[in-house]
C-alpha cells in the first residue's frame, strides 16, 4: 500500500489586489492565504475552523481549483491541479466535488432534481441526461430521498432535504474528496444532526474524504479526524480534535473554545475580554495574533512563530504553546 496522501497542499499563497487608492502608490494586497500546507489521507477528514476572514473559504476555492493560487501547489492523487491542462482538469473534477452552505441558493429553482443531480455527469461524460436516471435514483436513495423525488423542483423540499440533494449531486461522480463549506450551518438544529449522521455514513460506506469548513467547533469535532485552525490566512494550530480541544496550544484556539456558549444550567454570563480585529493587509512582522493575545511579549511582536510540533501529531504556531497547554483547559460538555 502506498501511503501517498489523497490531497497534498504545499505552501499555498493567495493574494488579492485591492482597488488602487492613489495613482502614485502601488495598490494594496490582501493576503488571504499565507503559506498553508496540509495533507489529507484517503478516507480521512480534515476540518478547518476560523472566523470570517481567516481564509478558510479561499482555501476551499483554491482546493476546488476554482481559483488559481498566487503560489504553491494543490496535488490531488499526485496531479498538480494548477499544472494540468484545462481539459484534463475538467475530467479530474469527478474526483473532487463541493457542497455549499446555502441549500436554497445552490440548487437551480427552475430545474427538476433529476437534472440537478445529473449535471456533473452531463458535463463530465457528455452523454444525454436521460440515460442517467438510474444512477440518479440510486444516489438519491443513498442520501435518504426517494426515487419519486426525481421529478420535483427544489422548492418542494425542506432545507435539510435540499442539502441531501446537494450531497447527492456531489456523490454522483463517485468522488474521492468532498469539500463542504459550512454544510449544516443554514439548517435547523434537529435537521443538522440528520445531515451530519448522513455524511458520516457515506464516509464509512464509500471511503470518502471530507474537507469540512465550519465555524462550529462541535461540528468539526464530530466529523473530522484532524482539525486545522486558521487565522489570517495561516494555520495556527493543527492536530487531532481530542488534542486540539482538550489540550489546545494556541491562544486563538483557546479563545474560540471559550467563546462557544454552553447549553447547561447555571450558565450565566462569562465575560470575555474585548478583542481587536487585526488587519489582513498589513505585512506585519511578528505573530499575526499578537494584537489579540493576552500572553504576547516583545519576542512575539518581533518574530513570526513557525508551525512546530508540540505533541504527537499536534502542531502549533505559537512561541508560548507550552504555557498555553499548561493553562487549565476549557470545560467540555458531556
Amino acid at each position: 500500500m502506498s501511503t501517498a496522501p489523497l490531497l497534498d497542499v504545499k505552501d499555498l499563497e493567495q493574494r488579492y489586489t485591492l482597488p488602487r487608492e492613489s495613482l502614485f502608490r502601488p495598490p494594496g494586497q490582501v493576503r488571504a492565504l499565507n503559506g498553508v500546507s496540509v495533507q489529507v489521507q484517503a478516507g480521512k477528514s480534515l476540518g478547518i475552523v476560523g472566523e470570517s476572514g481567516s481564509g478558510k473559504s479561499t482555501f476551499a476555492r483554491v482546493v476546488m481549483a476554482l481559483e488559481r493560487p498566487t503560489s504553491g501547489q494543490v496535488a490531488l492523487l499526485g496531479r498538480d491541479l494548477n499544472r494540468i491542462p484545462p481539459d484534463e482538469l475538467r475530467r479530474a473534477r469527478r474526483d473532487f466535488q463541493m457542497v455549499f452552505q446555502d441549500p436554497y441558493g445552490s440548487l437551480d429553482p427552475r430545474q427538476i432534481i433529476a437534472r440537478i443531480v445529473a449535471e456533473p455527469l452531463t458535463v463530465l461524460e457528455g452523454a444525454d441526461r436521460t440515460t442517467f436516471r438510474d444512477r440518479v435514483a440510486a444516489v438519491l436513495k443513498q442520501v435518504g430521498l426517494r426515487e419519486a423525488d426525481m421529478d420535483k423542483y427544489p422548492h418542494e423540499f425542506s432545507g435539510g432535504q435540499r442539502q441531501r440533494i446537494a450531497i447527492a449531486r456531489a456523490l454522483i461522480t463517485q468522488p474521492k474528496l468532498i469539500v463542504a463549506d459550512e454544510p449544516v450551518s443554514a439548517l435547523d438544529v434537529s435537521v443538522q444532526a440528520q445531515v451530519l449522521n448522513l455524511m458520516q455514513d457515506l464516509q464509512e460506506q464509500f471511503g470518502l474524504s471530507y474537507i469540512l469548513i465550519s465555524h462550529d467547533l462541535a461540528v468539526v469535532d464530530y466529523l473530522c479526524d484532524e482539525v486545522a485552525v486558521m487565522y489570517l490566512g495561516r494555520i495556527v494550530e493543527q492536530g487531532r480534535p481530542e488534542d486540539l480541544f482538550e489540550h489546545c496550544a494556541h491562544p486563538y484556539t483557546r479563545a474560540l473554545l471559550d467563546a462557544v456558549p454552553r447549553a447547561r444550567a447555571g450558565g450565566g454570563r462569562r465575560r470575555r475580554g474585548a478583542q481587536a480585529i487585526a488587519s489582513q493587509s498589513a505585512a506585519a512582522t511578528g505573530c499575526p495574533y499578537v494584537a489579540r493575545c493576552a500572553l504576547a511579549d516583545q519576542h512575539c511582536r518581533e518574530a513570526l512563530p513557525e508551525l512546530r510540533r508540540v505533541g504527537e501529531g499536534h502542531l502549533a504556531a505559537c512561541h508560548k504553546a507550552e504555557s498555553v497547554m499548561a493553562l487549565p483547559q476549557a470545560a467540555m460538555e458531556g
Binding site: E51, S52, S158, G159, G160, Q161, D188, V189, S190, V191, Q192, A193, Q194, L196, N197, Q200, H215, D216, L217, A218, V219, D221, Y222, L223, C224, D225, P241, E242, F245, E246, A255, L256, L257, A259, V260, P261, R262, A263, R264, A265, G266, G267, G268, R269, R270, R271, R272, A274, Q275, I277, M332, E333, G334
Partner: protein, 337 residues
C-alpha cells in the same frame, strides 16, 4: 410609582396569529401567553417556522396586513393588539425596539450610519439635527464603535458584520426603549464576535433597566443570557420556565430532542447524534393534537386527540405534554450541568 414597578411591562395573553401563506391560511402562533416585568429577560427558542419571530413581529406591530391577531398584548396596561398603525409608529423604535439577525439588511445602504442612528431621535424625541448628531455619536461610542465622531458619516458597507450589528444596537437604543427584542442578533456573526455583542447587550439591559426578549435557535446562547425561557414548536409554547430550571430537567420530548441533537464539543468521531426524526412541519399542515406528535418518540394515541394542556413540573416550569411522567424520568439536562 411602586405600582409601576410591580406591574408587568408587557403582558401577552393567549396570543394567536393567523397568516395567509402561499399554501393557505396558517395558524403561525397559538395560545402564547407570558408577562415580563421591567428588567426581566426572556428567551424564545425554536427552529424555523416555530412562531418565535412571528410572536416578536406581533409585539412590534410589524405583521403583514393580511395577518389576523387574536388575544391581547398589553404594554403598561395599554392594549396593543389592533392598534392603528399611526399609533404603533409612536411606540416602535421609541418604547419597543428590535435588533434583527442580518445587520446588513437591517441598515439602509443609501444612508450614513449617523443619519440612521439619529432618525429615531429626530422622529420621536424631536431633536434638532445637531442634537441628534451629538447623541448619535455618544450612542455609537457606547456600543463600542471605534472613533465614532470620525466615522459617523460613513456608510454601512464600510463596516464589518460585528460593527454593523453594534450600529443596529445603537439605533435600537436611541430612544431608551422599555422593551428590547433581539431576534437572532448574533446568528450571522463569528463566535468570538457573538460573545462581545451578547456581553454588550447584557450590559445595556442592566444599565438601562430594560426588559429583553432574546430569540435564538442556539440553546447555548439562551442558557447564558436570559432568566426565563420558552421553547416553541409549531406555533405553540411547548415548555417554559426559569432557564436554570429548564436546563436542569428538560420536560418536553422536543426540548430534549433539540438538546441531544446538538453536536457537542468532546463528542468524538464515531459517536452518532441522536436525531429527531422527520422535518419541521409547514405551518399550513400541522398535525392535529400535539404539534410535535408526528416526530415524538413517546407519542400515544391521546397525543393526537387534542393539544395537551400546560402541566406544571417544577417552580414556574411548565411543559405542554401529557407524557411528562415518562419524559422527565429520562433526566435530560441534569447530567450535563
Amino acid at each position: 410609582m411602586a405600582e409601576r414597578s410591580t406591574m408587568p411591562l408587557i403582558e401577552v395573553d393567549n396570543l394567536g396569529v393567523r397568516l395567509n401563506t402561499s399554501r393557505g391560511p396558517a395558524q403561525a402562533v397559538r395560545g402564547v401567553s407570558f408577562s415580563l416585568k421591567r428588567g426581566e429577560t426572556l428567551g424564545l427558542v425554536g427552529e424555523s417556522g416555530c412562531g418565535k419571530s412571528v410572536t416578536a413581529m406581533s409585539l412590534m406591530g410589524l405583521l403583514p396586513d393580511s395577518a389576523r391577531v387574536t388575544g391581547s398584548i398589553r404594554l403598561d396596561g395599554n392594549e396593543l393588539a389592533g392598534l392603528a398603525d399611526a399609533d404603533y409608529c409612536r411606540l416602535r423604535g421609541n418604547r419597543i425596539s428590535m435588533i434583527f439577525q442580518e445587520p446588513m439588511t437591517a441598515l439602509n445602504p443609501m444612508h450614513t450610519i449617523g443619519n440612521q442612528v439619529a432618525e429615531p431621535l429626530r422622529r420621536h424625541k424631536k431633536y434638532s439635527a445637531g442634537q441628534a448628531r451629538q447623541e448619535a455619536i455618544a450612542l455609537l461610542d457606547r456600543v463600542g464603535l471605534p472613533d465614532p465622531a470620525r466615522r459617523i458619516d460613513a456608510y454601512p458597507h464600510q463596516f464589518s458584520g460585528g460593527q454593523r450589528q453594534r450600529i443596529t444596537i445603537a439605533m435600537a437604543l436611541a430612544c431608551e426603549p422599555d422593551l428590547l427584542i433581539a431576534d437572532e442578533p448574533t446568528t450571522a456573526l463569528d463566535v468570538t464576535i457573538q460573545g462581545q455583542i451578547l456581553d454588550l447587550i447584557a450590559d445595556l439591559v442592566e444599565e438601562r433597566g430594560m426588559s429583553m426578549i432574546l430569540i435564538s435557535h442556539d440553546l447555548g446562547v439562551i442558557a447564558e443570557n436570559v432568566q426565563r425561557m420558552m421553547v416553541m414548536y409549531g406555533g405553540t409554547v411547548v415548555e417554559s420556565g426559569p432557564t436554570d430550571e429548564v436546563f436542569r430537567r428538560m420536560g418536553h420530548p422536543y426540548t430534549q430532542g433539540l438538546f441531544r441533537a446538538r453536536p457537542k464539543l468532546g463528542a468524538r468521531k464515531g459517536t452518532r447524534l441522536k436525531t429527531i426524526s422527520g422535518t419541521v412541519p409547514e405551518l399550513a399542515d400541522l398535525p392535529a393534537g400535539c404539534t410535535f406528535s408526528e416526530r415524538c418518540p413517546l407519542v400515544i394515541d391521546a397525543c393526537r386527540a387534542a393539544l395537551p394542556p400546560m402541566a406544571d413540573v417544577g417552580p414556574g416550569h411548565g411543559v405542554r405534554c401529557i407524557r411528562t411522567d415518562v419524559s422527565m424520568a429520562a433526566n435530560v439536562g441534569a447530567l450535563s450541568a
